[in-house]
């Protein structure tokens, strides 16, 4: 027993560090090849600016405060829209998962709305809200609503009925049954919904900002296109990638914290 313990100890220390680095090898390699291709003139800078130029453009925008302001605006829209749409989706998912009546009443309607691509509503939303903040928040909230609704509903419906029966036998009240059995059982599925929703959140926001906005990352990219500032366009795209990765990592950390009981998240 002690032999196994001492053998596995250094490995469990080493693994996370290697894991942390290994995922960045491919992105770094791509940037290196890209820089090389631009430096040798293989790719004309009019088509694709070198990474160093992009960093330079980013630095200039950072100094002028424009970059931080635009990222902040986009981040704010994304989070508020996510919170609104996510909470509504979560509430409907709970209600329809727990109550037959609520499910009969609303599920069909929600399924119909779900099948309308929410970005197709952009013209209508502009007519309703103009290019105001509310237009973007509405679109993000709508986009985020469905993955969270569907996965919450699915999570609650697929909780092991044997566990629910067990809870009833042991005298759990409805509230306790929800808190101790149904909600924790639905949680892995709810997290799947959250991660889907985070992807849709960025997609919706960027499209909305590209079409109609006066600030934000999407707006910054569109402005840069007008003035042929290709380095700023590329910069915006790279920032999307980083923000997307950041949101995904955040949800993973949350998952790890709340699902530590799950065999898939157990570090051994």
């Amino acid at each position: 027993m002690s032999l196994i313990d001492s053998a596995s100890l250094p490995r469990s220390f080493r693994l996370p560090r290697v894991d942390g680095l290994i995922q960045w090898i491919v992105p770094l390699l791509i940037i290196a090849v890209w820089q090389l291709a631009c430096a040798t003139g293989f790719v004309p800078t009019r088509v694709l600016p070198a990474p160093s130029d992009v960093v330079l453009a980013g630095w200039k925008l950072l100094l002028s405060g424009e970059l931080v302001r635009n990222i902040w605006v986009s981040f704010w829209r994304a989070s508020i829209g996510f919170l609104i749409g996510g909470s509504i989706g979560f509430v409907f998912g709970l209600a329809n998962g727990l109550s037959q009546l609520s499910s009969r009443l609303t599920d069909t309607t929600l399924q119909m709305v779900r099948n309308v691509p929410h970005l197709a509503l952009i013209p209508l939303v502009i007519l309703w809200f103009g290019i105001d903040e509310s237009a973007k928040l509405f679109l993000v909230a709508l986009g985020v609503f469905f993955p969270i609704y569907l996965n919450t509903l699915h999570g609650i419906r697929s909780v092991d009925p044997q566990l629910i029966e067990m809870g009833r036998i042991y005298g759990m009240t409805d509230g306790e049954l929800f808190r101790r059995v149904i909600f924790p059982g639905a949680l892995p599925s709810i997290f799947v919904g959250i991660r889907f929703a985070l992807g849709i959140m960025w997609l919706t926001l960027i499209v909305a900002e590209t079409i109609a906005a006066s600030s934000g990352l999407g707006y910054m990219a569109m402005q840069a296109r007008e003035f042929m500032l290709i380095d700023v366009v590329v910069l915006s795209i790279l920032i999307y990638a980083l923000l997307g990765k950041l949101a995904d990592s955040a949800s993973r950390v949350l998952e790890r914290l709340t699902l530590s009981w799950h065999p898939a998240f157990q570090k051994r």
Binding site: G167, I169, Y170
Partner: protein, 278 residues
Amino acid sequence: MQTAVRTMLPQAELASRAHFAPQARIVREIQPAISRGLPLNIRGLRKSFGDNEVLRGIDLHIPAGQFVAIVGKSGCGKSTLLRLIAGLEQITAGNISLSEEARPEDVRVMFQEPRLLPWARVLENVEVGLGRERASADAHGRAEKALGEVGLADKRNQWPSVLSGGQKQRVALARALVSSPRVLAFDEPLGALDALTRISMQRLLERVWRDQGFTAILVTHDVSEAVALADRVLVIEDGRIAQDVTISVPRPRERGSVELASLEGSILRHLLSGDERS
């Protein structure tokens, strides 16, 4: 792991026997008088699912503290009988009467699956068994005591997913025991375990039954298990009690003894005779 459990268990039993032998004897001598079990009366019990009549009139009296095993072919209605006793299904006709003082915590069920909450640590899972007394101040202490009784005190802070099948089932047993039930119904609790774990679990079941004196009702498809553990074996066929066998072999019973084997043989012959006729 499996062998470790097996070799450790008898040692632990020996040790505790050596230490507590005098007290244990006293407890056993006065046990019939203070038996905590509840008697059970079943009259004309019927149960149908739609057109399918599963139980066709069961009359049964189980005295307090008796260990009854129910055997039968799959689909004979033995699990349904157990679920009715445990109050998990609605009775179609007839009645099951427990004593009037029985509280919900007095009847507990243990299933073939451990049914542990995967998101709760072992100790917390055992506390679930306290029912309405879960919030009481001594909940922790009682859960730990129950966990100690099944020999898993050191696993209290583990997640269920890291336990072996036999350990999970022992946690489920601790959860059923923690409220000190007076009737404990087992629905093939050992059906999914390997042969060796099974034998050590059977010994554990017998031990806790003797220590706590509850009325035990064990549904099993394993006739040798029924004969080894029970005071009385009921054979159910086509929704009726076809045979009621009293097992008077003194305890502790020697596994594989001639007496048990002949009893097992006669019950098996009865169970299989239907096949030959058809």
